[in-house]
């Protein structure tokens, strides 16, 4: 590198680092345009976080996690919700609310910028550092379990109902869920054949790639049990990619795929799965038992009972001699 000392440092810098010059310009613009609306700030007591239950129902709730959002809305407190996260997609009106990022990559400061009177978050909230910060700070936060079982859901509903001062609504909601689940259970007991084996795909296999299937300890496995079936994928836990060969080997009676806009399956990919010649030997294909369900059946929120009934109806068509092969109800 030859340096002519006649040049000023600045000129040397700019000549050699045009990228940096551009970045500096952008940074300046950014700095100048950063005059957000200032809200009046709430007062925090910096002692140990205690949610004040005497204060009645808080307004300005931020819900993080699909199940948390759905529970608050199901209890009729939707008008108190100020912001939600990206995983909250139901009921439809939550899409109009401000976003604080995705449940698994939450920025604590982003949540605080929404000025929350109460945060209701599922245990899925991440990264761990964000959770630690939120626990350290004196932000009134109700932590719900990351719902994987019926017990988790019941606990969440009662805790939120208690927090929002809506015990009757909470009881009623729990009763509804319970009755839907027991309806699915009794339906399953009346089947003439044995329990069908079910394989659930988060992403169905295509001609070129295997799919993401739910193994043991996954929400889909729990839902299959609730609907009266058995999970075909027992060799692994959680959601894992499986090859076409493994699907042939598992040979499920029923294949269910989660449909959602954005990711998961679409009616086209499900049709491609039905038409895949490699899978023609699989029972589910031969029985024409490949179904699509809304992917948020796996949210494990207040609609868990509905989801169990929907899956139960699908399995009924296989476990009871067919009464016409209609597809399960698909929600847009």
């Amino acid at each position: 590198m030859s340096h002519s000392h006649k040049q000023s440092y600045c000129a040397r810098l700019m000549r050699n680092f045009p990228i940096l010059g551009a970045c500096a310009a952008i940074a300046l613009l950014f700095g100048c345009s950063e005059n957000g609306e200032k809200k009046s700030s709430p007062e925090f007591s910096s002692s140990e976080t205690q949610i004040d239950s005497d204060k009645g129902s808080p307004t300005n709730i931020v819900t993080i996690g699909g199940a948390a959002t759905e529970i608050v809305f199901a209890l009729g407190a939707g008008d108190q919700v100020a912001a939600v996260d990206l995983s909250s997609t139901f009921p439809p009106e939550v899409r109009q609310l401000p976003q604080v990022g995705y449940v698994r990559s939450i920025s604590p400061e982003g949540v605080l910028s929404k000025d929350p009177g109460l945060i209701i978050a599922t245990g899925a909230l991440g990264p761990p550092a964000a959770r630690e910060i939120m626990e350290e700070l004196s932000i009134p936060t109700l932590w719900l379990p990351d719902p994987k079982t019926v017990e988790d859901l019941e606990r969440s509903v009662s805790e939120v109902a208690q927090q929002l001062g809506k015990p009757e609504e909470g009881e009623a909601l729990l009763k509804t869920i319970q009755s839907q689940l027991s309806q699915a259970e009794s339906e399953a007991r009346s089947w003439s054949r044995e329990k069908p084996t079910v394989l659930f795909f988060l992403n169905p296999p295509t001609a070129s790639t295997g799919g993401m299937a739910g193994g043991s300890d996954s929400r889909s496995a729990t839902l299959i049990e609730l609907a009266g079936g058995t999970n075909a994928a027992k060799e692994f836990s959680g959601f894992q990619p499986v090859s076409l060969e493994s699907v042939i080997q598992m040979n499920p009676d029923v294949i269910i795929c989660g449909i959602s806009p954005g990711h998961g399956a679409s009616p086209e990919t499900i049709q491609a799965l039905r038409d895949n010649p490699a899978l023609s030997s699989v029972s589910a294909i031969q029985n024409e038992a490949v179904y699509g369900v809304p992917l948020d059946d796996l949210t494990f929120g207040p609609r868990l009972g509905e989801a169990a009934l929907r899956w139960n109806q699908i399995l009924s068509e296989q476990a009871n001699p067919p009464a016409g092969n209609q597809l399960a109800q698909r929600e847009p």
């Binding site: 970045c23 200032k38 700070l137």
Partner: protein, 373 residues
């Protein structure tokens, strides 16, 4: 910074004064950028609030949201940013001095991958081993468990970085000279193996949450900073940086070549070992706490060299300061560009550093710099 010596460079009082002026200017800039960084984020804060957040009023009964955010979220993050930026630039400058080549960047030649391998090994296998031992009814001393809980990750990451740096150095040293293509190719191999290793461990052993933090290992972030991690960073980085700064004159003599440095009375082997160890330790620490943040170690020393020349007595301290400044600026972008979410800072540094690296290569083709390719 250095005692008297006349053989290595003509040091006039004038030059010395210039060094101090540059360092003072950079320090002032760093303080300014730190304040700007404390004042920007998803929650809007005024300069006044930044000040009260920093000083506190002692009356801790009612604290405003802004104060909490500044004191508990932004301040540790800014301090971490300063430490990590300095450590990355210093390790980049040390490696470049050792390899006598401006392309040696920790992330590029694979040191960061080594650290990530070690880190993921600690994340996945330590808990697994402990549960296995417990299942086999073998008692592990509680002190050991506590130590690994707190320091297992950085210790493993540092070990991975050190091991890999020594390997790369041995492979690229051909007949007493550094072979640059060998160095870069070793880096490619190390990155490939490291990435595969991280992926493999994660798919085989990791829980869902660990799986989701893999992006953290491949693209760094300062989002995990809290007072505990900042304290650990300080304890680990400050001594390394202090020792690194003492090798300025030795690295100056390395510019001439190892044999020449030896004849100047430099303990060449001792210096090499120390430089490898220090740079790898610093990379290991930053990777353990913040994941892989690439290109800072490449860009910053190069900027200093371009503007102020290759004298390590200025390059090391000025590089440390500039590294902190640039990382803080990048972090402000990471926090504000898509608020209320965040971008990973590693994405930003690679976005800027990647083209920069290409520009260096293009320049080298025109014969304008001494990259040695």
């Amino acid at each position: 910074m250095s005692s008297t010596d006349s053989s290595k460079s003509r040091r006039t009082p004038n030059r010395r004064a210039k060094h101090w002026i540059v360092l003072a200017a950079l320090s002032l800039l760093l303080v300014g950028v730190a304040f700007w960084s404390l004042g920007s984020g998803a929650v809007s804060t005024s300069a006044e609030e930044v000040w009260t957040g920093l000083t506190g009023d002692g009356e801790d009964s009612q604290v405003s949201l802004q104060e909490v955010v500044i004191r508990e979220i932004r301040l540790p993050r800014v301090i971490s940013g300063i430490l990590v930026g300095a450590a990355l630039s210093l390790s980049g400058a040390l490696l470049q001095g050792l390899f006598r080549n401006p392309l040696a960047d920790p992330a590029l030649i694979g040191v960061s991958s080594g650290a990530a391998m070690g880190g993921v090994l600690a994340l996945v296998l330590l808990p697994l081993t402990l549960t296995r031992l417990a299942q086999a009814n073998i008692q592990t001393p509680q002190a050991l468990v506590d130590f690994f809980d707190h320091f297992g990750l950085p210790v493993f990451a540092m070990a991975g970085a050190v091991g890999l740096t020594f390997t790369i150095y041995r492979i690229s040293l051909v007949r007493g000279r550094i072979n640059v293509p060998a160095m870069l190719l070793t880096g490619i191999a190390a990155n490939a193996i490291g990435g595969a290793f991280v992926g493999l461990l994660v798919t085989m052993f990791a829980t869902d949450d660990q799986l989701r933090s893999v992006t953290f290992w491949t693209l760094g972030s300062l989002a995990g900073s809290n007072w505990t991690s900042t304290l650990h960073l300080t304890i680990l980085i400050i001594p390394c940086a202090f020792f690194a700064l003492r090798y300025d004159r030795a690295l100056n003599s390395f510019l001439l070549g190892e044999a020449e440095a030896f004849h100047l009375g430099i303990q060449v082997h001792q210096v090499k070992r120390a430089v490898i160890l220090l740079s790898a330790l610093m990379v290991g620490i930053t990777v353990a706490f913040c994941g892989i943040i690439g290109f800072v170690g490449l860009v910053v020393p190069h900027m200093i060299r371009t503007v102020f020349g290759p004298d390590h007595r200025l390059l090391l301290p000025a590089g440390a300061l500039l590294g902190s400044i640039l990382l803080l600026i990048a972090d402000v972008f990471a926090r504000t560009a898509v608020a209320p979410s965040e971008i990973q800072i590693g994405i930003l540094t690679s976005l800027i550093g990647g083209p920069f690296f290409l520009a260096l290569l293009l320049k080298a083709r025109k014969g304008a710099s001494s990259i040695g390719l």
